[in-house]
């Protein structure tokens, strides 16, 4: 039982990061129609930037700066992916984001190399709750993922900027005709998504060291989480992240660590199939 609870705790924390990437993917997809396959890169960058900045400033400042840097790079990615004239098709944009991911990996390999990077988290000591070890960092990640999801939902539903983002997702054509600049909308979405993933990555690094090529696994897991919500629901993307994280940890604990991603993705596939079947029936 203790092992089981332990695995659940770890699963929720890694799942929160998948959830964050999933939420970011949904945000970008809903507002621009683009699946950003470079989304995981921003989480890796968040960890890397924080690692590099941390010796020069307090941890919190390093994380904030890393998030801002990632948001700026997100802006650049948006301009490249959407095109300077905003006329690139969604499929072409998708391929461009794959290119951005490969390029980022190459640059990271050339600059920081293959060494995994990690640093001490906010608190060093784990809490012992009835035999289950809970790292404060896990709670922090889960809390941030939840808060970010709630804030993002409130932002999209309750503010005029958020509604402008949804509007341009519903009909880019009509959004342009009422005077919204569709390229500006894409930049905002990519920047927010990039910053969010960087925050997730920066918080994850103390428990799971980041490597230059960790983005692929993060993007795949995040994508699976996002697809759980039909690529349109932010709330379900977070839930999908939790489910994925927990299943992966259970596989690690009870079956075999080398199958964790495979089995988790199969479970997601079944869940997605079940969901879509229910929708067809409803």
């Amino acid at each position: 039982m203790t092992t089981f609870l332990q695995l659940i705790v770890v699963g929720i924390s890694t799942g929160s990061v998948f959830g964050i990437v999933g939420v970011a993917l949904v945000l970008v997809y809903r507002t621009t129609g683009i699946v950003n396959f470079a989304q995981g890169v921003f989480a890796v960058l968040g960890g890397m930037f924080t690692f590099e900045l941390r010796p020069h400033m307090p941890l919190l400042a390093a994380i904030v700066l890393a998030v801002l840097l990632a948001a700026v790079l997100g802006t650049l990615a948006a301009l490249v992916a959407v095109g300077f004239r905003g006329r690139t098709t969604h499929l072409a944009s998708l391929v461009i984001t794959v290119g951005i991911a490969l390029l980022a990996e190459a640059i990271l390999l050339a600059t920081v190399g293959e060494v995994p990077r990690s640093y001490a988290g906010v608190w060093r000591h784990a809490w012992d709750v009835g035999g289950v070890l809970i790292q404060p960092q896990y709670v922090l990640i889960a809390g941030v993922a939840l808060a970010a999801t709630i804030l993002l939902t409130l932002f999209l539903r309750g503010t005029v900027v958020g509604q402008a983002l949804i509007a341009s997702a519903d009909s880019a054509r009509a959004a342009e005709l009422v005077g919204l600049n569709v390229r500006a909308v894409a930049v905002i979405a990519f920047a927010v998504a990039g910053g969010l993933c960087a925050l997730g990555g920066a918080l994850l690094a103390p428990t799971v060291p980041v490597v230059y090529n960790a983005d692929l696994a993060l993007t795949i897991n995040g994508f699976a989480a996002a697809v759980f919500g039909g690529l349109t629901s932010i709330r379900l993307a977070l839930l999908g992240g939790y489910a994925l994280g927990i299943v992966e940890q259970l596989v690690v604990g009870y079956i075999d660590p080398q199958y964790n991603l495979t089995i988790a993705l199969v479970v997601m596939l079944v869940l997605i199939g079940w969901r879509s079947r229910r929708e067809l029936v409803a």
Binding site: V160, Q163, A167, D170, S171, V178, G179, L180
Partner: protein, 254 residues
Amino acid sequence: MSALFEIERLVVRYGEAVAVDGISLRVDHGERVALIGPNGAGKTSLLNAGCGVIRPASGRVRVDGDDVTGATPAVLVRRGVTQVPEGRHVFASLPVEANLQVGAYGRFFSLNVISSTLRYVRRRADVRDRLDRVYTLLPKLHELRERPAGRTSGGEQQMVAIGRALMAEPRLLAVDELSLGLAPLVVDQLAEFLVRLNEEEDVAILLVDQNAVLALALCERAYVVETGRVAVEGPSSELRERAELRGAYLGGGP
């Protein structure tokens, strides 16, 4: 005095294909003008080039005499020219009221979200007044205000699209295919509304429609477009009389 909206020898090309081949037209303040012609004549291309959606190969677009050729739709909206797109394109997942609010926000929106939002918030009272005005003009929208726009009927969606455009306080409303896919009764109501809007609110109307009977009944003046050129233009009453038009464009009408 210069025209409110003027298009001069406009040419639109898609690769080799010439969609608009040197069309000129003008709409004066408070006028109702129709642009009619068969499918594929270049009406929508002309409108889109006029509203900044696509870039014309040559020719000029002017608002109040100022050259706005190649400007983005945002610039035209700010200058008072707003298009209601063909097929309505409501923001389906947003409630009707949010559709209208985004219509007003378009005038302020820019990449600098903070300053554009501040501008919007500072003029919130104006936006609120404008919303009330649109609700007065289209009371049906007030009834539907909380419903997602995607879950309204075709005629209601056309109302949402028109209301959304009106939120930007246009001086010229360019309506692309008002009647497309709507029941005749609904079309009549919308047409009546456009006339009232024109007469009471002094909004000029540029109506693009395949339904020539409707467009000629609604507008004082009309341009008949055929294969990218203006075939005939003049007062609607004159055009209605012309037999050749009846055969070619009135689609077997009276």
